[in-house]
Amino acid sequence: MTGFDRFLATFFNGEVIVRYLPSILQGVWVTIACSLLIVVFGVAAGVLLACVRAYRIAPLNVAIVVFADMMRALPPLVLILMVYFGLPNVGIMLSSFLVLFVILGLVLAAFTEEIVWAGLTAVDKGQWEAARSTGIGFTGTLLQVILPQALRMVIPPLTNRAIAITKMTALGTVIGVPDILNQATTAQSFSGNASPLTIAAIAYVILFLPLVVMSRWLEERFVRHRR
């Protein structure tokens, strides 16, 4: 065998790929489902928190800032292990999928809150004054005038952050979520061949590369727009 043949047999072994592709595809669906849930919950919760913060109710704001800071300062894997291994001992049994979704959803909510809040405060003060001067109330102004402008401003950083956090669904492997990486490492140890890992990497590239390219496009369009 030449070196190249050996390389192919190790990383692109057709036989191994055919045998384990179905289970990796199952992992793809798990990864997609978990990612979608995280994005929907995380973005919605984050926007809601940022809006609540706009009312500047002191105790609520302290709670929101502490939550957002902690979720942004702690490594997600620390939170995942803490919740997944800690809660059963106090009688709360959560599936590994649920733990992964809740933790990463909260992390995305925290980042979204900070990003959207920065957007809300960046909207010109004159927009508040114009709306309030026509008799529109605080909530109406926030939701109809300020928030739409803030969201438009923060789409690029929010997209980047959402991609970075949904990629972390691979951490589910550590607690046994049957995602792409988990299926691949299982297949790798059964087959004694690295091809399943190659397939997993390719699967992630197929899933996330379009999103990464889209976020680059959004960012560049946004920068050009501002100039």
Binding site: P75, V78, G86, T185, Q188, F208
Partner: protein
């Protein structure tokens, strides 16, 4: 409530686990000392090549950056650590972590630095070139210092992410802080060691997180 406290804030177990976690913290810091500079240097290379006027330099650079932004770091790490040995390339967990994180971090630092360089008005480079400075001198003495200052909050944010990322090394049994804490958890059947590690991460990273938040707000308004 008592049960929760006992499970997550058991002071006795925390005290017993502290030496182990402290050793782990040492490894975490060592890892940071290695992967942060590597990432910044790799990022600088990525930023400069992805802004090259030559298309055959620029496009491959952008493609590589996007590729490594698309692959989850844990996948990259396991590929390097568990995949490459099949090709006869064996390495210690430490080296595997350094390589995998270097690739991942370079892509992210690269994007931040690229945005920084782009944020410097073209007139700055033109002014420098008009005084006879070379492209390299202009970049080093005029564009980069301004660009780095413009994206300093993002650089700090990214560095926070890099420090958090080192916790993934626990998956390949590198004895950093999370690995140490998780080991203590599995021995004691109690999550308090992980809480303790979490507290250490908070002490390390919360100031940076807060600083960046305040900073960005001041720029935004």
């Amino acid at each position: 409530m008592d049960q929760l406290l006992d499970q997550f804030f058991n002071l006795e177990i925390m005290a017993a686990a502290w030496p182990t976690i402290l050793r782990g913290l040492g490894m975490t810091l060592l890892l940071c000392l290695l992967v942060i500079p590597l990432g910044v240097i790799g990022g600088l290379a990525a930023a400069l090549t992805s802004l090259s006027p030559r298309r055959w330099v620029r496009w491959p650079a952008i493609a590589l950056v996007d590729l490594f932004r698309a692959i989850p770091p844990l996948v990259l790490l396991i590929f390097v650590y568990a995949g490459l040995p099949f090709a006869g390339i064996r390495m210690s967990p430490f080296v595997a972590v350094a390589i995998a994180f270097m690739l991942n971090n370079s892509a992210y630092y690269g994007e931040v630095l690229r945005a920084g360089i782009l944020s410097v008005p073209r007139g700055q480079a033109e002014a420098a070139r008009s005084t006879g400075m070379t492209h390299a001198q202009t970049m080093r003495a005029v564009v980069l210092p301004q660009g780095v200052r413009n994206v300093l909050p993002d650089l700090i944010s990214n560095t926070v992410e890099v420090v958090k990322l080192t916790s993934l090394a626990s998956v390949v049994s590198l004895g950093e802080m999370l690995h140490a804490a998780n080991l203590a958890r599995s021995v004691t059947y109690n999550a308090s060691p992980i809480t303790m590690a979490a507290l250490v991460y908070l002490i390390l990273l919360w100031p940076a997180v807060r600083l960046v938040s305040r900073w960005q707000r001041r720029i935004a308004v």
